[in-house]
Symmetry: C2
Subunit: 312 residues, 2 copies
């Protein structure tokens, strides 16, 4: 079974339980309204040695940052501010001392950068490799929460940065080239924490999520949840230096924001974003009344076997 | 470094970060007041194959229940009601199909029993053994939250059930005797979810926690956090059938509640508890102005090398 297949099975199996006011599985985070026009948001990500990282290719400090970054990205993807995390670490004997301390330094540095508290977790011995689970908690005004399910037909589709650098970096790492700039980008993702909150404040932004599994896969989640389709002009996908178009569309772990916005406001939104952050929002296509992604080349449909990236 | 040593190192290292209104590391759960006289509570527990369980000795269904139970116990230990969980699973190929489905059945059954929603999580492949992380979220009226730090000199110390069954069951499991009733108790802990909320409502209850690492270790946490000592009459420790006194005091994973209560109200509290739940609250000693645990035999101090149980 694929990861998404298993998650969908679980979602259906647990649908008979009370929601206790939570919006649960199906978006980047679970959402709990707490009154006063505010909600709390919750997300968990699990990293396992040999699947998400190789100890030889990633320093403990880098991994401490990355384990937190991927969770902060999920919080930002809904327009929220990260406020706290719980960290669980299963450590084999050879990672329990110095390695663990350096991991915590990387985790601390990124926590400090965004003012995120560490409020709990668990540590245990591991008989296998290192396993890391982070649960992140965010806060957001209800009116600012951006969901995958809120795309509207006609919306402009935008991405908040260039794509493919992380995928190209992973290619370098798997080839044993640990010291390239792309490999460094793969190990040190920058979650768009400020950008996500800024976009959350903008009413013309409808749907939003972060690109963790690749555009080809993740855009599909917005379409599935919104019951709509999309046309994407492949020449408009912003390709990172050193990456190719296919990696930009299918590679994982770029952690850039993907959003849809009212078409008449998208130009102004992008201009304001560029003025605030110094980088563009790239329009790559539009939401349609259909289903699935239609890839275009110079306005004409092209058949592409692009698939997302899977850790499963 | 021990688990508690590492956690204390982390707590100090992260003390420079903003709390964002959380009460963080140091109790069974982190606590976040959300207004309206209510708080949310958060806890995470990590279980790893070969350390917390052996696949040959524990069914997938039992483990699904236990992974949730230990977290519900932490929520109940502060007087709160569990409302939701996030579940992260790292699964090797030979546990990804049937094993995972049966695990989810056990998790579902206990979730349904207490009306707890499953609102998120993560699933991934594992190159080693099975690793499970659960983050549980609870809700509680602020006035009902019971902390480790709230014991008072003179308080009566009580435990909400007999001790040592789980430790004796673990002994059976490690000897290859998987089919004893004690081994079954070890694999199927019953968190005191209703009892914890009932005790939370009682003002005469001051400090509370759950017994996961054994009385000898866990009572020490109440004393450390409250800046007090204790005298425990060893003959009053309630020993489960099939266990011995030392296992009752030092064995882990009984998941019974340990509490301190105003001495003039403790008798009435125990009587009301017995009327409500059909089982006693056992008074085992009293909180003193000193520090550490003094074990007594017929009122006289005895030197015992009792230590808690550690998974680290």
């Amino acid at each position: 079974m694929t990861e998404f297949g298993f998650i969908e099975t679980i979602r259906r199996r647990f649908a008979d339980l009370p929601s206790n006011a939570f919006e649960g599985i199906g978006d980047d985070c679970a959402v709990l309204p707490v009154g006063g026009g505010e909600s709390l948001l919750f997300t968990s990500d699990l990293l396992t040695e040999g699947v998400h990282f190789l100890r030889a290719a990633t320093s403990a400090r880098e991994l401490g940052g990355k384990a937190l970054a991927v969770n902060l990205s999920d919080i930002a993807a809904m327009g929220a501010r990260p406020v706290a995390t719980l960290l669980s670490l299963a450590l084999p004997a050879d990672a329990a001392g110095r390695w663990a301390e350096e991991f915590m330094e990387g985790y601390h540095a990124l926590s400090a950068r965004y003012g995120v508290a560490l409020v709990g977790g668990d540590t245990t011995r591991s008989e296998g490799g290192i396993t890391i689970n982070v649960t992140a908690i965010g806060r957001c005004a209800d009116r600012c929460i951006k969901r995958r399910s809120d795309a509207r037909a006609g919306d402009t589709i935008l991405v908040a940065g260039v794509l493919g650098a992380s995928g190209a970096g992973l290619r370098d790492l798997l080839a044993g080239r640990y010291d390239t700039s792309l490999a460094a980008l793969h190990r040190n993702p920058e979650p768009q924490v400020d950008e996500g909150q800024w976009l959350g404040e903008r009413e013309e932004v409808h749907a939003m999520m972060d690109l963790s599994d690749g555009l080809a896969s993740d855009l599909g989640h917005i379409l599935d949840r919104s019951g709509l389709g999309a046309e994407v002009e492949t020449a408009r996908i912003p390709v990172a230096e050193g990456a190719d178009l296919r990696t930009a569309a299918c590679g994982g772990e770029d952690y850039k924001l993907l959003l849809t916005a009212a078409p008449d406001a998208a130009g102004r939104l992008a201009a304001d974003f560029a003025a605030r952050f110094g980088t563009p929002l790239y329009p790559i296509g539009r939401i349609t009344a259909g289903s699935g992604v239609k890839w275009l080349r110079d306005g004409e449909p092209v058949a592409l076997d692009w698939q997302g990236f899977s850790h499963y």
